[in-house]
């Protein structure tokens, strides 16, 4: 799941921003959300003080781990593999 907190102009992300972003990355089969009102900051350890940030979520929506940086998705995937016993 992607969540945009700002659009291309630096303003809070809108529905148009996530539609455009989804188009840019090839219309993925996962959601691209707009979170212009900082809801994710209020429900995860992510802060929006760094860019990008990501969290691994379990099937029960448990926050397994959170990371910062462009290549940190590998760390999130490692967490998921470990939790799944793979």
């Amino acid at each position: 799941m992607f969540a945009l907190y700002e659009g291309g102009s630096g303003n809070p992300a809108t529905a148009n921003d996530c539609a455009g972003y989804a188009d840019t990355i090839g219309n993925p089969s996962f959601p691209v959300f707009a979170d212009g009102s900082f809801q994710i900051v209020g429900t995860t350890p992510m802060t929006q003080l760094s860019h990008p940030e990501l969290c691994a979520l379990s099937p029960e929506m448990e926050i397994l781990s959170c990371h910062v940086g462009h290549n940190s998705y590998m760390d999130a995937l490692d967490t998921i593999r470990s939790d799944a016993g793979l």
């Binding site: 659009g7 188009d23 429900t43 350890p45 992510m46 969290c55 691994a56 929506m61 926050i63």
Partner: protein, 132 residues
């Protein structure tokens, strides 16, 4: 005499029982023509004589196909095709590692408000970034 004849007539022309059960439902009949047979309707608890049990404009079969609750008029198929996975009695505990992430509604690329708990049941990476 008349009631007996009436019941006999109903039986002859094949009227369905007024209530379905696991014993008397038919897995070949689809009385409301919605694409779900009567036994499937019984199992789901939907109305086997009404193609749109919750009256939300989508047939029961359409809602089953898109993983939406056919008995909840407020729940309809997401335009982008996301499933409405039911998190049951899930409760958010906080926002730290090890906590259950809270349910929030965000707009998706199809312009619809989506509940993040509808993605219950699978592992996910929530990747927050900016479009610039």
């Amino acid at each position: 005499m008349f009631p007996l004849m009436f019941v006999s007539l109903l039986s002859t022309i094949g009227c369905a029982p007024s209530t379905l059960s696991a014993d008397n439902c038919s897995d070949t009949e689809d009385q409301d023509g919605d694409g779900l047979n009567d036994c499937e309707e019984f199992e789901l608890g939907t109305d086997y004589q009404e193609s749109d049990s919750d009256g939300d404009g989508l047939t029961d079969a359409e809602e089953v196909e898109c993983v939406s609750n056919p008995l909840d008029e407020d729940e309809q198929c997401y335009e982008c095709g996301w499933a409405h996975n039911d998190p049951g009695d899930l409760v958010s505990e906080g926002l730290d590692i090890g906590d259950t992430m809270g349910s929030i509604e965000l707009v998706d690329q199809c312009g619809e408000m989506v509940d993040t708990w509808d993605f219950y049941g699978e592992y996910h990476v929530l990747y927050m970034t900016a479009a610039w």
